[in-house]
Each structure stands twice: as C-alpha cells, then as structure tokens.
Symmetry: C4
Subunit: 202 residues, 4 copies
C-alpha cells in the first residue's frame, strides 16, 4: 500500500514542524474511486512514530477493510471533503496559529488572506492578487453535526482550498497527497504570517 508509506512520511514531517503534536491530526488518501476506498490514519497514533502500519483502508461508509485499529474519529469529515471536492487526499493539522486565528476570527465566520505571492501555491491560483477566504466552522464533538456543517460550508464556498475548525485546526486537500501537502505548507505559512503581522505593523 504505497499511499500508506507516503501518508506516514508526510505526517512525520508535519510532526517535526509541530503541526501535529501528540496524537493530533489525521490524514487520508483515495486508493480507488469506484467503489471508494480510502487509506486513513488510525486513531490515537503518536504522529512522531507514524508508520505505514498505522494506516487503515476503509470504504465509503467508514468500515475498515484492511489493517487493525479504529479509523480516525473524523473519518466523516474526510469522506465529506472527498465527495464534495473530488479530492484525492485530505490532510488535517493542529497548529498553533490555526488555533489562535480560528478563535480570533470566529465571529466573522472566516479569515481572508490576500495579496501574497505564496497564495500561488494553491491549485488554480495564478496571481498574488487572489483573495482566499478560509471559512471557520464551530467545533463539535457530534461528528454527524460537524460533517453537516462542513458540507454546508464546502457548498457555500466553492473556491475555498481549506477551512478551519475553531480552536481545533486546519483541513485542506488536493488531487493527490503531494498537492494536499503543498496546501498544508502554504496555508500554515500564511496563517503564521497573519498571526505575527500585528507585532511588526505596530
């Protein structure tokens, strides 16, 4: 299962940057389309030791087909993104800046990032004049409710390359793991720039 190896390597890289400490974060990649088969991180794994053996294979209803362990509690969100964005991979990080900014901008329902060259790292964006709206969704433990909120936001913001869960973290995706990884790096970078800007501009 090649996807598992690639997911594990990407995950350990994020751990080293401090974007998925502890057992936080979860990652998935589509292995086949019809029927849908998703490789997804098992729940409760130390992301610093993430290995291919911690990646399960599930079907479109979240049933485990291969591997042992429980799939991530947030499997429903991954499935929603795959379905509504036709994504080949979904990556979810818990960084310091996504926690801070998702809280600071919660009342506005999202965060606009505009005017940065780095935005061109997002698929389909060809100019820094792009305005990326990163929706912020209130966090819930009820996964059916949360998946519903995610679906509604994805439908309303067709252009969005990711979203934030409040005081929780970032979700982004791509046509494959490499593209989704790039989106994580771009968005985490831009969140850090936004978060630190207040200091420099005063």
């Amino acid at each position: 299962m090649e996807a598992a190896t690639e997911i594990a390597e990407v995950g350990r890289g994020f751990y080293h940057r401090g974007w998925v400490l502890g057992t936080s974060g979860n990652f998935s990649a589509v292995v086949s389309d019809e029927p849908l088969r998703l490789a997804i991180t098992s729940s409760s794994v130390d992301k610093g030791r993430l290995a291919a053996e911690h990646i399960l294979q599930i079907d479109g209803s979240g049933n485990v087909l291969e591997g042992s362990g429980r799939p991530s509690a947030e499997t429903l969100l991954h499935l929603a993104v795959v379905r509504l964005r036709d994504a080949g991979a979904v990556l979810h990080t818990h960084s310091v800046w996504s926690n801070i900014l998702s809280d600071a901008h919660a009342s506005e329902g999202g965060l606009a990032i505009e005017g940065f060259e780095m935005l061109k790292g997002l698929e389909g964006v060809s100019t820094h004049e792009h305005r990326e709206w990163l929706p912020i969704i209130e966090n819930w433990q009820d996964m059916v409710r949360l998946a519903g909120a995610v679906e509604e936001v994805l439908a309303r913001h067709q252009e969005a390359h990711g979203f934030l869960l409040r005081r929780h973290g970032l979700y982004t995706w791509g046509k494959d793991i490499a593209e989704a990884k790039r989106h994580v790096e771009i968005l985490e970078f831009l969140l850090e720039v936004r978060g630190r800007t207040h200091v420099a501009l005063r």
Copy 2:
C-alpha cells in the same frame, strides 16, 4: 532495561524541540510496582546526549539500585506523582512558555485552558469543552517542602493532568511513557497557544 532506552529517546526529542536545554528536565518510569522500582534520569546529564546509560534504577525511598550517578534532585517530586496519581511515567520539561506563563499567572494559583480540541489528547478527556486547570506551585529548593506542596496540590486538584512550577517548568505524567510523552506535547502546545494569543487577539 527497556524503559531506559525509551526515556532516552523521548528526552532527546524534547531537547530538539528546545523543551529541555542544557541539563534541565528529568524523566522517570515505573519498572515494578511492588516493591516500587523507578527508572529515572541521572542528575546533570546533557539532554541532547541522553542515553540509556544515564538512567538509574531507584527504590521508593530514592536509593540507587542500579547504574552510577546521582538520581535527579527532583526525585521526591517524581515519587510523589507516582504515588498519588498511580502514574507509570513522569516527565518534566523546562520550556520557554511554561516559564513565562507560570510567572504571569502565579498570583491566580493556576492557569485555565479551555475549549481546545487538543485537550482531547489528555487521558480521559473526550470533548474540547473540557476545562483543564493547571495549578502553579511556587518554586523552592527545599525538596521536602516542594514535594509537600506538590502533594497538597495533587490532592486538591484530582482532575489535573499536570502542574507548573513557577519560573521552572511543567510536570505531567501518564500510565506509561507514551502517554506521558503525549501529555507533554499536548500541554506544551496549549501553553504556546496561550502565550502567543495576546499578539493575535489585539
């Protein structure tokens, strides 16, 4: 002594994150319950070079049974946590943010962390709506006095997953080394989020 190898690896990882620079920090794990045998870092070891040979084995009174060197000066605190929390491992870091926040909130006697998904990485916490109270204890060089203060705080705050020593650092624990390591990562992450929040929210 497998615990020694695992402690050493965890310790070097914390060193790379800057949570135990110099010879700061100390780590222990229960090797047997009855009679109590604790593997614990020797005093004055460079945490960047921590190896299994720097881990001693002591009894419940702090006497060295195996290995050479003096056990950590804070052995009494480790023993208190093991006894009062039935912990299998105790980890103590000296991070920048635990130093800053333990001082900033000292007069309140603790620091509340609430509403973050990351809190679910703490054993027994199943919702971000959890409110973690991290008690802050005044720092003393008299270890008997300090151990007494720790015991009193542990008794008063049965739910706490860790505590801060003022201008000193974080103590946390778990049923085993892996759980204690996860608790360090979760709590250090949340301390960093708290410490940086002021910048972003203004």
Copy 3:
C-alpha cells in the same frame, strides 16, 4: 552537474528552516560565463524533496538546454541579477519575516538595517556600522515588468546585497552558491531580528 547537487542541498536546508515551504522559492548558479549557462530550479518542485534532477540548465535567454521541466517562472529575475551584479549564484526565499516586513515598509520603498555585527557576513562589509538598505519592489505577475523594476532598483542601489519583493520574499546573490547561501542566512536573520524587535523594545 555539481552545481545542481549543491543547489539541491542548500534548498533542502532552507526548507527545513521554513524559508521555502511548498514549491516556493527558486535558486540558480552560473555554470559558464560565455556563453552564459545557468543551472536553475525547475518550476513547481516540492523544496523538501529538491534533488539534482530538478535542476535545469538554461541559456541567457531562458531556453532549456538540459534537463526536463519548465524553468522557474522567475527566471528573468535571476538573469537580471546575474547580468547586473555579475553574480555566480542567486537565491530566492519566501520567509515569514520577509513577507511581513516587505509589507510593513513598502511605502518607504525599502528597509534600513544598521548597526549589527551580523552585517559583516555580507560581502565587502567590514564593520557593524554599515547601513544596509534593502529595497522593496512591488510584486507583479508580469515578469517582464517585474524584471524591469528589478533592473531599475539594482541600478539605483549599487550597494544593495539583496532586495525584497512585497508580500513575496527575499532575493540575494553571491559570487558562488556558498556566498549566496551566507547572504540568505545573514539577511533572514536580520529580518527576524527587525521583525521581533518591537515586542522587546516596548
């Protein structure tokens, strides 16, 4: 192609520091002077995986002579720097602080850095009393226009060791890759010092 191996190693180092996340950044080195042959990073490569095979060889008009892939979109800027500064290598990073400061100081047209010992790491600077003026250039997607702006700034600021593109990043160069790498480290360091200074001085 030795230059390719060295460029790749330098690039992965910058990735680890977070100065070229995603596919951001691009690097080049002169392989021969007459006729001009430039080794330059291919477009859209994950900088964490940059390898010698991702480095193309182009002529002075940007035509690919060796290797497969498109040369960096910013090839014209590299060629302008090579020509006007007689540079042997050109390195371009996208760091958090260069993004923040290039925006904060855009209306002044540049940023002065003065009085730091670290400035002596810039070629030809022999005292910390040096005043480095880092010009800031408005960012454009039209590369002919942007190259024109770069040429004009390089002509006007003969002493400058680098320049910033607004909300985009840093360009610097050197007589060889080692010197250009040193200039990146010196300037990124000084930008971080400048960016963080506000906090400490209040």
Copy 4:
C-alpha cells in the same frame, strides 16, 4: 585533535538552532595550559558545515601553530576570557534574542535575569533565587579596544557567567566544552524567555 571534533559538533548543533547562522560565531577550547595552546575556529567558515579541519591551534599570542586559515577575528576576546576566567572553553553565538536584548538594555549596561530554576544550570549556582547580571559591552571593530573593554567588564563583574556584545551576540565559557555548551543553552533559553515575556504579561 579531539577538541576540534567536539567543537565542530557543538557548532553544528548551534547552527541548527539558528544561533550561529552564516559564518557568525566562533568557538575555542584550551588544549594545553603551559604553554597556552588554544583550539579555535578558523575565520569565515559556514557553521552548518563546521568540521574538525576548520579548527586551528594557536598560542597565547594568537599565532597559528597548526592548521591552515586565519584564526577568528575575535581571538583576542577568547584569550582574554581564558586568562581572566581560567576558562577551558569559550563559545560565542549570534542569536536573535541576544541581538534584540543587548540593544534594548544597552543604556543600563547590562541585563538582570533572576528567579528562574534554569539559572541553576550555570556553574556554581544552586538556587533559582540567584540574580545573574549579564553585562552589555558596546561593540567595536578595533579588537584591542574591544578586548580592553571585555577585560574591564570581566574584572568588574567577577560573578558573571557571560556577557553580551551590543547588537552582536553572547559570550560564555566553562571549564570544558561541555560546560560552556551548557552555559550557551541556559543563557540563550533565558534570553528568549526575557524577550518573549512582554507579550504574555500584557
């Protein structure tokens, strides 16, 4: 030359933490006392690639006895510290926080650090109630003048474990390389805590 290997390893470690970017920083260790022989980093070496071959051996007047290259421009400062403190090793870093704080507190002539457990990592300090006064010396390119200023400060502040050169960096030392390395980590940690404290306390 064992000292050379150890110096090189310590130096690369500091480079990875960002404390000696570019060719900044210099390190030395006493190889013999009578007559004085000092192993010291050669000038202008990329600290990320520092190897034993970049370490020279000099006598007490700074003449090169072994190795090729020029000894560090700051050799006189190393010799002054060795003489006046009977040090076995001297390490000099250029960190972001030492640059910021040496400037912010220059008019007071130094910086007090007090009340932190981490201070106990400094040789001879046995309680966090210790008050460390880190003198700040104005930076000069004239090394004779600067060495004179260093000697005067070392004589006046017999207790100091290090000093800052304004907008330049930190000097500290120890009886051997291991102790000097520990002092760098302790002091850099405490400078970071001091530098970041303003944010958290407001």
